[in-house]
């Protein structure tokens, strides 16, 4: 009999927490044949990334995953063989008590945030013995073999390759979203938090010699886009043109559709954790808007990733890319940095492919989690 897994997700804000846990749950079911329950405290957020879900159901089955509303008033439920508290969320005390009382031990994992910082390797897989006698284990995703790896479905890169080799599939997908770019337009996706640096980037795109078509899924950056355009009430389907730049607002799409969007674009601006990883699997140059932390702790995370990512780039291309990422995250002149990045476009394109391939050569997060459980047994 296959092991049962419970994943607890507390939606703090945005869609990163639910995005990662939903993706993980799906993969554990589809590729490992596991029985997975996903406990979510905010089904409204879940429905945004899984539109066919019912936001009112106490429990429902979606793509083989039992998705449960995490109730404030916790009711007794059988404990799973493996329990994952995602991103430090507090598993219900009554459930923890049930873990203590279970005749056979439970593997309790604390799945942490993604970071390229060096300390992650030293903390990955370490135990966390609790006062009540249970032992949690900290599990860190990451970019090296000394971490838990990144979420990546087994068929992901093959699906991407098939999509890329089928121009009609690309055309059909874009048409479905109402996107009809000029033949030689640079296609860019933009998913970000609010960012004062956006205006200078859009200025640069609008004055470019090549047409740029910017695709903006609904989200927090929309206000800045509207401010730059001098328009209000932009909604999915809205299209605005300024010089060489076409701005098009898209609906919030499902995870699978978002992957396809990333595959269609020449350049992807992403944010947080889930879309950041997916953009890397797209094998395209990317720009990361990192989640802001207290005391600028996110800057160290940004630099740590850049240290990894820029290895193998020429000094000039590396400097241009680093400056763009810093400008985007540190309120500097993004437009000027963007123009420098364009100079190294072909090198950055090839590098993104290499980075993707190198990361794909490492075990993925779902596989390492399952392997960790097998070793623990």
């Amino acid at each position: 009999m296959n092991a049962s897994w419970d994943i607890f997700c507390c939606v703090v804000d945005n869609y990163g927490d639910i995005g990662v846990t939903w993706r993980l749950a799906r993969q554990l079911v589809a590729e490992q044949g596991l029985a997975v329950r996903l406990w979510v405290d905010d089904l409204g957020a879940f429905v945004r990334i899984c539109p066919q879900a019912d936001p009112t159901a106490a429990q429902q089955w979606q793509q083989g995953v039992q998705v449960c509303q995490w109730p404030a008033d916790w009711q007794p439920t059988p404990v799973a063989d493996v329990v994952i508290g995602a991103f430090g969320c507090q598993v219900p005390p009554a459930y923890v008590q049930s873990m203590l009382e279970r005749p056979t031990p439970v593997l309790w994992l604390n799945l942490e945030y993604l970071s390229a910082e060096s300390w992650v390797e030293g903390c990955h897989g370490l135990p966390s013995p609790q006062a009540n006698g249970l032992r949690k284990v900290f599990f860190f995703p990451g970019f090296t073999t000394k971490t838990g790896g990144l979420l990546r479905e087994a068929s992901l890169l093959a699906r991407r390759q098939a999509f890329e080799q089928d121009p009609s599939a690309r055309q059909a997908f874009l048409s479905g979203l109402g996107v009809q770019p000029e033949a030689n337009a640079r296609l860019i996706s933009l998913f970000a938090y609010e960012n004062p640096g956006l205006a200078s980037w859009l200025d640069a795109l609008a004055t470019d010699s090549r047409p740029n078509h910017l695709l903006v899924p609904e989200g927090r950056i929309l206000g800045d886009v509207q401010a730059w355009l001098g328009e209000s009430d932009l909604a999915p389907g809205s299209i605005a043109r300024r010089g060489a730049l076409t701005v098009q607002i898209l609906p919030f799409v499902s995870q699978d559709e978002y992957d396809q969007l990333l595959w269609c674009c020449d350049f992807n601006a992403v944010r947080g954790e889930d879309s950041f990883v997916r953009a890397q699997w797209a094998g395209r140059p990317l720009l990361w808007h990192i989640y802001v932390q207290e005391e600028y702790a996110h800057w160290e995370k940004l630099e740590a990733f850049l240290d990894h990512y820029t290895q193998g780039l020429s000094a000039e291309a590396s400097a241009a890319l680093v400056e763009l990422w810093r400008a985007w995250n540190m309120d500097r002149d993004v437009g000027r940095a963007w123009q420098q990045v364009l100079v190294h476009g072909s090198e950055l394109d090839a590098h993104a492919r290499r980075w993707c391939a190198a990361q794909a050569a490492q075990p993925d997060l779902a596989t390492t989690l399952v392997q960790f459980y097998r070793n623990w047994l």
Binding site: V12, F87, G88, Q90, N110, E112, Y113, L114, S115, E117, W119, G122, C123, L126, P127, S128, P129, Q130, A131, G133, F138, E273, Y291, Q293, E294, E295, A297, K301
Partner: protein
Amino acid sequence: MKTGKELKPGTVLRIDNDPWLVQKAEFTKSGRNSAIMKTKLKNLLTGYKTETVYGADDKLDDVILDRKEATLSFISGDSYTFMDTSDYTMYELNAEDIEAVLPYIEEGMEDICEAVFFEGRLVSVELPTTISRQVVYTENAARGDTSGKVMKPAKLKNGTEISVADFIQIDEFIDIDTRDNSFKGRSKK
């Protein structure tokens, strides 16, 4: 009870009824304003050592410990002997037991330390929050900066490197905050 973020060297936790001494504690922001504490623990009954990680808000049982004032008496190899200032009793610790404060332990230091006892046995030593140490080497000030904002590395007597203000010169004494190993300023003595 202590939370994960309150752990520091010298804390003793009770885990599965065994006393575990925190020998080292490193605080790290992990993401979305949450944080973790990586610790090195030593079982005070068996001597077994392990590394652990705690969330900043994890609640842990700590053991109430006896504390006495003590000063460093002498160093012999990896052995550090401290003297109880009230009754002159000598206590010996090895380098691993005081790993967290080792960078600032040096012959001749006069700091009044806090010796930490578990069931009558000395298990750790804590330094005062502020200590004064002499700089034995540092580069000359690059641009004559006096603001204290420009920093440079400096070496202490026992080889420890610390980042100090650019205006600090060789042989000067500096104040160090032992909670975060940061340079506080030029010593007044």
